[in-house]
Amino acid sequence: MEEKDLTEKESLELIARMIQSSKENMEVGRGNRFLYWGYFTVTLSIVVYVLVALTNNSIWSCSWMLMFGFWGFISYKEKKPVVVTYTDKVINQVWRVMGYMFILTFIVVSILQLIAHYPSLSLMMPLSLLYVGIGVSITGIILQDKWLIYSPFISFVITFYMLTMLIIRGPSNSWSLLFGFAFGIMYIIPGHIMNHKAHR
C-alpha cells in the first residue's frame, strides 16, 4: 500500500476492508489461555488427589500453591498481543479484579489460620471456584458466548456443596477432583470451542 489519493468510493471500500480484516484475526488464539489454565488445573487436581490419597497426608494440598507459580509463568511467557481490542481490555480488567480478590482472600484466610488458628484455608477452594466462575461468566457475557456464560453454574453448585460440607463434615480430598472437574467444564471445553470458532 502506498501513499496515494483515493476517490470517495475507494475510500469507503478501503475503510470497510480494513475494519473487516482487523476483525478477522481478533478471535484467533483467544481460547488458548483457557486451555492452558484448564489442562494445568485438571492435571494438578488429579495429582493432589492421588498424593493425598496415597500418603494420607493433607500437607500435599499445599501443591495448590503451584497455581500462583503457573500464573507467574503464564504472564511471563505469554507474548504481548499485536492488537488489543476494546473487548480484550474489558476482559483483562475483569480478570485483574478477580485476581486481586483471590490474593486478598488468600491473605485473609492465611492470617486467620496463623493467628486465630481457625481452619480457614479450607475456604480457599470453594471461594476460588466461586471467583473463577464469576470471572468466566462475565467473560462469556462480554464475548456473548453461551457456554462461557452458563458453564460456571457447575462451579456455583460445587461451591455451595463444598461450603455445606465444610460446616457438616469438614473438607475432603475429593474436593480436588470436583475442583478439577469444574475447571474442565469451564475452561477446557469453552477453550476448544473458541479456538474452533476462530479457525472456521
Binding site: M1, E2, E3, K4, D5, L6, E8, K9, E10, S11, L12, L14, I15, M18, I19, S21, S22, K23, M26, K80, V82, V83, V84, T85, Y86, D88, K89
Partner: protein
C-alpha cells in the same frame, strides 16, 4: 455545499491505518504493517504525520532488545475520522 475531505485522511495508507485503529483499542507497528502491506519506512512516515496532527498517539516500549511501537487513536483523530466519513457520505449521496 459539500464539505472538503480532510487531506490528512484522504490518502490510502493513512486512511487504512486510521480505519484499523478505529476498530481496535491499540495495535502495534508490525500488525499495522502486515495489515496494510506497507513498507516499514513508508508506514513510519505516515504514522509520524498522523501523530504530528494529533490524530494518533504512539508509545514505544522495550521488549527484550527490541523496541515495540504501539499506536492508538486520540479523541481528535476519532472526531476527524467521523467527520471524514460523514463528508464521504455527502459526496456519495449516502444518508
Amino acid at each position: 455545499m459539500l464539505k472538503e475531505l480532510d487531506p490528512l485522511l484522504h490518502s490510502q495508507l493513512r486512511l487504512a491505518v486510521v480505519s484499523i485503529l478505529m476498530s481496535v483499542d491499540e495495535a502495534d507497528f508490525v500488525y499495522l504493517r502486515e495489515k496494510t502491506n506497507a513498507t516499514a519506512g513508508n508506514l513510519s512516515i505516515q504514522l509520524e504525520k498522523l501523530s504530528g496532527a494529533g490524530y494518533i498517539e504512539t508509545k514505544r516500549n522495550m521488549e527484550g532488545k527490541k523496541t515495540r511501537t504501539i499506536c492508538r487513536m486520540t479523541d481528535k483523530g476519532k472526531n476527524a475520522f467521523e467527520e471524514y466519513v460523514k463528508a464521504l457520505k455527502g459526496y456519495l449521496f449516502i444518508k
